[in-house]
């Protein structure tokens, strides 16, 4: 049994202007010790998925419409709010993007860490403090015993994110959800922070969901990947499958669109247009208007289904575009056009 088994999770936001289908029919499995990367652009539903698993969606306007979130066999969508509070922070923890705002600026680091420990565990102040210091040492904060009394603003961004990780991991959760944990950090600091997460995972078998838009981070950190677009999973599989045998047109285009250190072209491949408006129902393939493949059928039609192509490699694929030619030749043509 996987540690986390999400089945057909659908979350919407009911706004005055209409219903935004932020995450549709999301399914994912995660074992202990595994890292799942969720990749997508802003508005693709990757954060909404994580917040839904944690049941942190603001309701209203948000609503988890359907699905199951089986964590250790227990459906998190059915447990009481009190039980859920207990699960958060002990069994599942979350770290957020912005280390500047996710710590309370008015409280000492020690106060915030002791609070996090004592909410879930009976322990006196002294014991909790020494546990906090150990946790800070584990995430590589030098001189932790004296710096634990500092206020957040006395720490740099990278240090604060380490503190956040220390707090998130302090009760040895089974699952860590990291929502763009390194986006606000410099690359050298990012590397250190990712190392800390990896090290903990190897030592304690923590499962990690890493939400990011950075394909490089995914390549270096994750075992499995889900690519999301317009609230749907368009492709999922092992990291090598996604990077070396991408099947969906969006995954393929995304990889071509990022500048890399290795090669230098005169023009980058460009995904034209912008993502669809999720407040409007999407008929057929969500990526259709931006798909680089030659179109052979109109946009209308049944929404494509997620199909397992190879072992564990699922793709949402439509029959609206001519995919007989490999993506490289299709894109090469577009790139020369764009360069003119």
């Amino acid at each position: 049994m996987p540690l986390l088994d999400v089945r057909n999770l659908t979350t919407s936001f009911h706004l005055r202007s209409g219903v935004v289908r932020a995450a549709q029919n999301i399914s994912l499995q995660l074992d202990r010790g595994e890292t799942l990367g969720i990749v997508g652009e802003s508005g693709s539903g990757k954060s909404v998925t994580c917040y839904s698993i944690m049941r942190l969606i603001p309701q209203p306007p948000g609503r988890i419409e359907s699905g199951e979130v089986l964590f250790d066999g227990q459906d998190l969508l059915q447990v009481s709010e009190a039980q859920m509070r207990d699960i958060r922070g002990t069994k599942i923890s979350m770290i957020f993007q912005d280390p500047m705002t996710s710590l309370n600026p008015y409280l000492r680091i020690s106060t915030q860490m002791i609070e996090a420990i004592r909410v879930h565990e009976k322990m006196d102040e002294k014991q909790a403090l020494s546990k906090a210091i150990t946790a800070l040492e584990e995430v590589g904060i030098p001189d932790a015993a004296s710096r634990v009394r500092s206020y957040p603003h006395e720490f740099s961004g990278g240090m604060r994110q380490r503190v956040m990780i220390a707090i998130a991991l302090i009760n040895d959760p089974d699952l860590l959800i990291a929502d763009e944990p390194t986006t606000a950090l410099d690359v050298t600091v990012q590397a250190q922070v990712l190392d800390i997460i990896k090290e903990r995972q190897q030592r304690l078998g923590t499962a990690v969901i890493l939400v990011t838009h950075d394909l490089g981070v995914v390549a270096g950190t994750c075992d499995k990947v889900q690519v999301m677009y317009a609230g749907q999973v368009v492709e999922s599989g092992a990291v090598d499958q996604i990077f070396y045998e991408p099947q969906h047109a969006y995954t393929q285009s995304l990889q071509k669109a990022i500048p890399s250190l290795g090669e230098k072209n005169e023009a980058l491949y460009t995904i034209t247009g912008t993502p669809p408006d999720l407040a409007k129902p999407i008929s057929g393939c969500a990526f259709y208007p931006r798909c680089p493949y030659p179109k052979i059928k109109g946009e209308e039609g049944d929404p494509p289904q997620l199909v397992e192509r190879a072992d564990g490699h699922c793709v949402r694929e439509c029959g609206h575009c001519d995919r007989s030619k490999p993506i490289e030749s299709v894109l090469a043509q577009e790139v020369t056009e764009a360069a003119e």
Partner: protein, 329 residues
């Protein structure tokens, strides 16, 4: 590169030992100086006409302060800045205002860089009239339409307000506004870091195309070496207010000499899982705390040419390599 290269000015923009120091003030009771932050600490640079210079560095290295100093949004503490031989740093505030049409800036956050109360048309026409105060009516409209097309926006939407556009489209509006006064120099400060990957490539292509087509000289500031590598002809790597390495983009990426550049490069994750598994990493010791506020020795121009056009700082580097290690697997 075209034949017109010969006509291009070699010394289009010249920085001579530019410094930008921020005084932290005095302590309340003791009146002791709290020190000076040397955000830009003696930078000398020469930029050729039509070239794209990338400036890379981590947060706090002074790259944003440098770009604002070149823009004369903050006047330099010392040093001189010449644009086409004219010394900007010596001009009075009023003269600078008249000179501003020649150098424009593209900002990071497309949500904050446009006045939310003005339509796209008003924003751009205002900017056009800084150079051509007499253009109005149909002629002005025609120019706005032309500019919007240049940056890939639909002119039919020019009466819309910024909030009615997506982030990528707003950045296009901001680019159109920067181009409106027909500047000779454009400074782009992290213009794509707030954008999604698919939009990012659109804007990068656009900037590159514009610079080629219009012969714009551009300074492209970013924390992302991969992005800079794609767009820039030359790259300057900044660390603590100084340039520590400067050279052609390929040279910097393929043959970095300074240990900091190497460490920086080695930290960038590549979208290639197999390469990632074997990637060698160079880790540096943490910065000594408070070093940025201590007065350092002023060494003028410590860059040494290792190969033609490739300059590396000869200053002793205070951070040592921790260990070169393969990533944990």
């Amino acid at each position: 590169m075209s034949d017109s290269d010969t006509a291009l000015r070699e010394d289009f923009l010249v920085l001579e030992n530019v410094e930008q120091h921020f005084d932290l003030g005095r302590a309340l009771l003791t009146r002791e100086s709290k020190g000076v932050v040397k955000a830009v600490d003696g930078i000398s640079l020469t930029i050729r006409e039509g070239e794209i210079l990338g400036i890379v560095g981590e947060s706090g290295c002074g790259k944003t302060t440098l770009s604002r100093t070149i823009m004369q949004l903050i006047r330099p503490t010392s040093g001189r800045i010449f644009l086409e031989g004219k010394e900007l740093s010596a001009l009075s505030d009023a003269d600078i205002r008249a000179e501003r049409i020649n150098f424009q800036m593209i900002f990071q956050d497309p949500y904050a860089s446009l006045n939310p109360r003005l339509t796209v048309f008003t924003t751009i026409s205002e900017a056009i009239r800084t150079r051509h105060p007499d253009v109005r009516g149909e002629a002005l409209r025609g120019r706005v339409i032309e500019l919007l097309r240049t940056v890939g926006l639909n002119p039919a939407q020019m009466n819309r307000y910024p909030h009615e556009f997506s982030g990528g489209q707003r950045q296009r509006v901001a680019i159109a506004r920067a181009l409106a006064p027909e500047p000779k120099l454009v400074i782009a400060d992290e213009p794509v870091s707030a954008l999604d990957v698919s939009i990012q490539s659109q804007i990068l292509n656009l900037l590159k195309r514009l610079s080629r087509e219009m012969g714009l000289t551009m300074i492209f500031v970013s924390h992302d070496l991969s992005v800079v590598r794609y767009i820039a002809d030359r790259i300057a790597v900044m660390y603590r207010g100084r340039i520590i390495e400067l050279g052609r983009a390929e040279t910097i990426v393929d043959d970095p000499r300074h240990i900091y550049t190497k460490a920086l490069m080695s930290a960038i994750p590549q979208p290639d899982p197999r390469a990632e598994r074997t990637r060698e990493r160079i880790l540096l010791e943490d910065e000594p705390p408070g070093a940025d506020k201590s007065p350092g020795k002023d060494v003028e121009d410590d860059l040494e040419e290792v190969t033609p056009g490739h300059l590396v700082s000869t200053r002793p580097f205070e951070r040592r390599v921790k260990e070169a290690e393969a990533p944990a697997q």
